[in-house]
Symmetry: C2
DNA sequence: CAGTATCCAGACCGATACTG
DNA sequence: CAGTATCGGTCTGGATACTG
């Protein structure tokens, strides 16, 4: 099941951006070359469904939305860190 | 890049079986309902390429082949363990 | 037993256009 | 700004048949 998160394009990138404080869809999209709104929203919905991020809607005009890591999401990124660490070690051969 | 491992179907299952001592293609396939030889071999090739497992060929008749975790592979499964742990925690809600 | 080749359905993703 | 709908191309995986 977690492959459903890790396995699809952009997921990890999105999680990483949110963790770094880039929380609004527009901002995220501006950061990621090639990420369309459709795919971004698919990812965000999935991340919400898996309780990795949570969505907050501020009823303003224009609408403002923020995504934040949940507690579970914070545990999740420790795995991402391990993965990055491993990749580093792998590329060093 | 490691998403290429984690992200595709059956990869984690195969790694897990090898780690548990089920090292021969035939045996692996018998364990996994729905895994075809084509896909199994694709996975194994990928795992070898990423140096997670290594292949040993015993020049016998009938041919015998074994796949074993490399040192890197052993580090890799610590991540799998974390993932499983997380999934457990996730399903408990 | 180990491994490859081919064919095909479905998933995934990007482009585009559009709504609130 | 946030989000949905639709259409198509590409890539992945499953079924099957086959070779050494």
């Amino acid at each position: 099941m977690i492959e459903n998160i890790i396995g699809c394009k952009w997921s990890l990138t999105v999680i990483d951006l949110i963790r770094r404080g880039i929380k609004r869809p527009g901002a995220i999209q501006r950061e990621v070359e090639g990420l369309t709104t459709k795919v971004l929203n698919e990812r965000l919905r999935k991340l919400v469904r898996f309780e990795i991020v949570e969505k907050t809607i501020y009823p303003e005009n224009p609408p403002r939305v923020e995504y934040n890591l949940t507690r579970f999401g914070n545990e999740f990124i420790t795995i991402l860190d391990s993965i990055e660490e491993l990749e580093r070690r792998f590329s060093e051969n």
